[in-house]
Every structure is written in C-alpha cells, then in structure tokens.
Symmetry: C2
Subunit: 203 residues, 2 copies
C-alpha cells in the first residue's frame, strides 16, 4: 500500500468525500489541514494552486473527484462492470454540479442581495428538486444507487444530501426513499465512526 | 459490443470529445443530432433534461466526461495503472473547468459589456496561462501527457487546445511543446480522418 497524504484546508468542503472513502476502506493516511491564515504562504508551493491534493508516495494528484475515484477503487467502492462504474461517475458529476450552484450562493459575498435572493429562490425548484425526484424514484426500486453493493456514489450522495438536510431540515420532506438512503449510509459503521470522531469545523 | 447511440445537439460542444473517442477506437455508433428548433419538444423526454446522453443498448448514461471515460476504456485509452488513470481524470477535470470559464464569456449574452470585458481580460493570465505553463513543462519531458501511450486525456487536450488556438491563433505562442503536442494529436490518422469528415457546425 502506498503512503497517502491528503492536503486540504481545515474544513470538510471538497475533501470530505475523500476522507469518507479513506474511513470506509480503512486506509491509513495523513490528513494535513492548512489553516486559512497559512494559505497565502503555502499556495505558491501547491502545483496548480488548488486544494485538495493527494500525495501518493512521490506523486501529487489534484482534483477532488479524480482523487475520490482513485481511492474508491482501492477501497472496493468502484463496480467491476464498466457501465456501472460510469453511472457512479455520472452521478458524482451531477451532485458536484448541484453543489457548485449551492456554493455559488453561500460563497458569493460580493453578489448584490437581490441577485442572491433570486438565485436562492430558483435553486430548489430548478436545480435540486429535479435531481431529488429522479433519485427518489430510483431508490424506491433498488437497494443502492448504482450497483448491488454500496459504491462511492452512495457515499457522495449520503454526504451531500445529509449536508443539505442539515442546512434545511425540511428539504428532504416528500422524498422518503432519499431520506432512508441517507440514514442507511450514515449508519455504515466506518462512516458513523468517522462522522463522530472527525474534527469539528465550520464548513 | 453493445449498440451505442450518442444524443446531442448538432454541434461539437460537450459531445465532440466523445465523437473523437468513438473515431479513435473505430467503434460504431449512431450520432443523433438534435436541431435547436426541435429541442423544446424533445427536452421533456430526456432524463435529467441535459445533453449529451449515451444510450448503451437499453441504458442511458448522462454526463459528458462519464461518457468519455467509459468509451475511452472500451477504446483502450485509459491506462491500466490506477494512478495513471486518475491523472487522466484530473487533467480532464482541469481542462473542463478551464473551458467552463471560457464558455461563461462566450455564452453569457446577458452579461453587461463591462463585466464581460473584465472577465475576458482576466481569463488568459489567471486561468489559461497557468495551465499552459504547467502542461508545456510536462510535455518537454515526456511524449504523452500521462502515460507511455496516448490516453483520452491527450485527445481532450488536443481538442481543447486546438479549439482555443482557432479562436486566438496567437494563444499558444510561447508554448512550443503544447503546440507540437496538439499537432501530433491532430495527426493521429483516425482523428485526422474524423476532423476532415465531420459535419460542419458553428460551435
């Protein structure tokens, strides 16, 4: 097994799925967390200037989803079947695009209030609800989202939907199969343990 | 081999990498192109309401990069080594993010002119140039971007950089290794043939 070091901010953000996969697969790693105040000094040494990064022995892999997919493979969370693996990838990209829209609202302090309010109002009916509707239907018919076993797409789903529900406790009302699936993922013993033990951070 | 149908607009856009991979791998497929005027009528029947989609026998896969990665595997364009495969994924995400910034300028007719001009001015030094600098250095030391053989990351690189150069013929000045790599990819016989034969579209 190579030596792994994950480099990110002291936050969940784009690294938390990676940490969940490490936890699920019981894979040892160094969880380096850069404090915001140290970032300007560190940024110049970071290839591409963006986090997270995964250091694998002497190689440095960027891009959160590329890192997650690679580690998911090591943790047995990528289906053997190519098309099933592709459905995991597609769901990860869809959830990532959805979160991009959510982040745009949360992390756009320069936006005018009117534009922000409008974006927030459009977010649920136009972006989130169509995805929830489709996935809820899918989960009524099957035990896991893509395969006969848990995949990294289920972990990402549990992380993202669990986070959205924390932000807005009524969001998953009307989507009982999603609610149930989130609970099931949060109850996976390794995930449950990590969520209980992880550092407490604002984001 | 399953039956493949690619559904997209009558445009290159997010489907062209997929078509390149089909061409490179000599894989038979139906290239369904929806005209803009027919899109409102078709959209309701499209799961998720977004294109491209790949129909694989009776299953429908969304998300352009998930489709590209899946087909790249069938075409022998994904490295066997997991970490090399991950570096392909990371590069694909980086190029996709870069193009997202480029598209924002091209396809934002509602933006005020001033904002558009500002975005355009910031695009090259802040977004494109750091990526070109890093990849140019990488290509000075190796024959292909990720592996000892051509991968789907090279194809995406050739497509994206070739497109940017067409938009701004001076863009790759100062990046001779990139220029050379783009030419090498465009000279791959199957790619060359596709580029010559493909339908002529505005985008």
């Amino acid at each position: 097994m190579p030596e792994y070091k994950l480099i990110y901010f002291n936050a969940k953000g784009r690294a938390e799925l990676i940490r969940w996969i490490f936890a699920y697969g019981d894979i040892a790693y160094t969880d380096e967390r850069i404090e915001w105040c140290d970032w300007p000094a560190r940024k110049a040494d970071i290839p591409g200037g963006k986090l997270p990064l995964l250091v694998v022995d002497d190689k440095t892999l960027p891009q959160s989803l590329a890192i997650a997919r690679y580690l998911a493979k090591q943790a047995g969370l990528v289906p053997q079947d190519d098309l099933e693996a592709a459905f995991c990838d597609a769901l990860a990209d869809t959830l990532s695009e959805m979160m991009h829209e959510v982040y745009k609202i949360i992390f756009s302090p320069n936006d005018e209030e009117e534009k922000k309010r409008q974006r927030k109002e459009e977010l649920f009916p136009n972006v989130i609800s169509p995805i929830l509707t489709r996935l809820n239907k899918q989960l009524e018919e099957r035990e896991w989202l893509v395969s006969n076993e848990v995949t990294w797409a289920d972990l990402m789903f549990g992380l993202v939907m669990g986070w959205l529900e924390k932000k807005d406790p009524e969001m998953l009302n009307g989507f009982p199969a999603i609610q149930q699936h989130v609970n099931k993922i949060l109850a996976l013993p390794k995930i449950k343990q990590w969520v209980e033990e992880q550092p407490d951070t604002a984001f």
